[in-house]
Amino acid sequence: MHGTRSETMNVLEVEDLAYSFGRNFALRDVTFVVAAGSFSVLLGPNGAGKTTLMSLITRLYDSREGKIRIDGYDLRTQTSQALSRTGVVFQQPTLDLDLTVRQNLYYHASLHGMSRRQTTERINEELNRLEMLERAGEKVRNLNGGHRRRMEIARALLHQPRFLLLDEPTVGLDVPSRQAIVNHVHALCRTSDIAVLWATHLIDEVFDDDRIIVLHEGRIPAQGTVTKVNRVAGGQTIAESFNRLTGRVSE
């Protein structure tokens, strides 16, 4: 282990992060925190750099500029500790369609080195919470889009992370499924002391008491509570503020 863990109330700390693809800056001066147990929305239009930022936080990419700490562990030097505290739901579906729900979940748990017994317990807990225990033996192919997404969220929680990262998790879902997932993760955040960072470009996924990090062209023009972002942007609603901050015409 390199260095020590820094004591903090923040589950995620991103400091002066920058990233570029060749000569094009994708992110610049990105600084924000996600407090323990809080729900933060990374709000940005398509192409703002959300997926790049998510890839840096999950260390799929690496940046020499800036720092990322997860639960006090430096992502670059204490990668293992940092990643073991993180649960990730990617934008693209990542379940094996031909395997059963349970087989998919076992695979994930093994990647975190969990024991068979512990895994079985956790799978039953998470599936119970989703009221999907009786479908554990079904192939993922037979589940609808909304259920698949829920499975991916359950999978990301198996190893009991402190921090859950979701990259546009409602893409491709119909409106009722989308709403159900948004409500589900908000409820999760409230009931099980887990911090959430939710990336989206959809305003209606924001709840009034969420914290917001607006990302536009690789920078953060405003962040904080809904009230604070509205004050900074001078909008009446978060939709109006978002449009002002990202240079969109108000609808």
């Binding site: 990419y61 073991s84 990617f90 695979y107 975190h112």
Partner: protein, 269 residues
């Protein structure tokens, strides 16, 4: 992370690969039919055209079918290595690569597990192929079947590592056909899989020299000698060295600091 965690991780990756293999019947059938077509049709047709004189490890004249069997075993592993490694970088599968790489275990270990698991699948394919071939009188002494196992681990890892390396280097692979044309076919035809290198030398010394530099030739010869219950030290050492080089380069290729994954993404999204 203790050794127990590492072992559980390997176990999980291996299980997934085996389950996927058993679920994807088409892939299994294709993996079996491809070499059988070569063995039962191509080899039968060319038996009289391509006479093979006595070459080590064979001690007598052999049927052409017997000669190309090790080459076809190599082909199974070559296809499997390309498929299991390269499939990860296609859009459809990119997600599963990401899922693997966000595991808290070190990346080199995850890639190694993935390689071993893919090799295990290729070995299942090879022995199934040999079981079918046995009915067509392609057989070896029992110790040949046993000696083949460690050789297959080595050659399967080497060819899988090549796939992994290519997946980290090549930014865009439109589809598997590209890999077939630019990697699999040249490697297969410019090797000792279908004809001995000396035979190739008669037509073109240059091509024969290239074949001797082709790692696939050494994979096939390692397999050929093992199946005959012998060891070809030269090919064995070359295959092992190439394996080390390919794995090292593939691990460097997947180092996040080098940004292979980000280059593949092709810019901000």
């Amino acid at each position: 992370m203790s050794p127990v965690h590492y072992a559980r991780c390997f176990n999980g990756i291996l299980r997934r690969e085996a389950l996927r293999f058993l679920q994807q019947r088409e892939r299994f059938v294709a993996a079996l039919v491809r070499p059988l077509v070569w063995l039962l049709i191509f080899a039968a047709g060319f038996r009289s055209v391509l006479g093979v004189s006595i070459v080590p490890p064979y001690e007598t004249y052999i049927l052409y079918e017997v000669y190309i069997t090790p080459g076809l075993i190599g082909m199974i592993q070559l296809f499997n290595g390309m498929q299991s490694s390269l499939s990860m970088v296609y859009d459809r599968e990119m997600g599963s690569m990401k899922t693997l790489l966000v595991s808290p275990l070190p990346r080199w270990y995850l890639l190694l597990c993935k390689l071993l698991a893919g090799t295990f699948v290729s070995i299942l394919q090879v022995y199934t192929f040999l079981a079918v071939a046995w009915f067509f009188e392609i057989d070896a002494p029992l110790y040949g079947y046993i000696a083949l196992m460690p050789a297959l681990v080595l050659t399967g890892m080497m060819l899988g590592a090549l796939g992994l390396l290519l997946s980290s280097l090549i930014r865009q692979l439109e589809n598997f056909a590209g890999v077939m044309n630019f990697v699999i076919f040249p490697m297969f035809f410019l090797s000792s899989a279908l004809y001995p290198v000396w035979r190739l030398r008669e037509s073109s010394p240059l091509l024969a020299d290239i074949a001797m530099f082709n790692p696939f030739t050494h994979a096939v010869e390692t397999i050929r000698f093992a199946f005959a219950g012998q060891i070809n030290w030269e090919s064995l050492i070359v295959s092992a060295s190439v394996l080390v080089v390919f794995i090292t380069l593939a691990i460097i290729g997947y180092n996040p600091a080098r940004g292979t994954l980000s280059r593949k993404a092709g810019g901000p999204a």
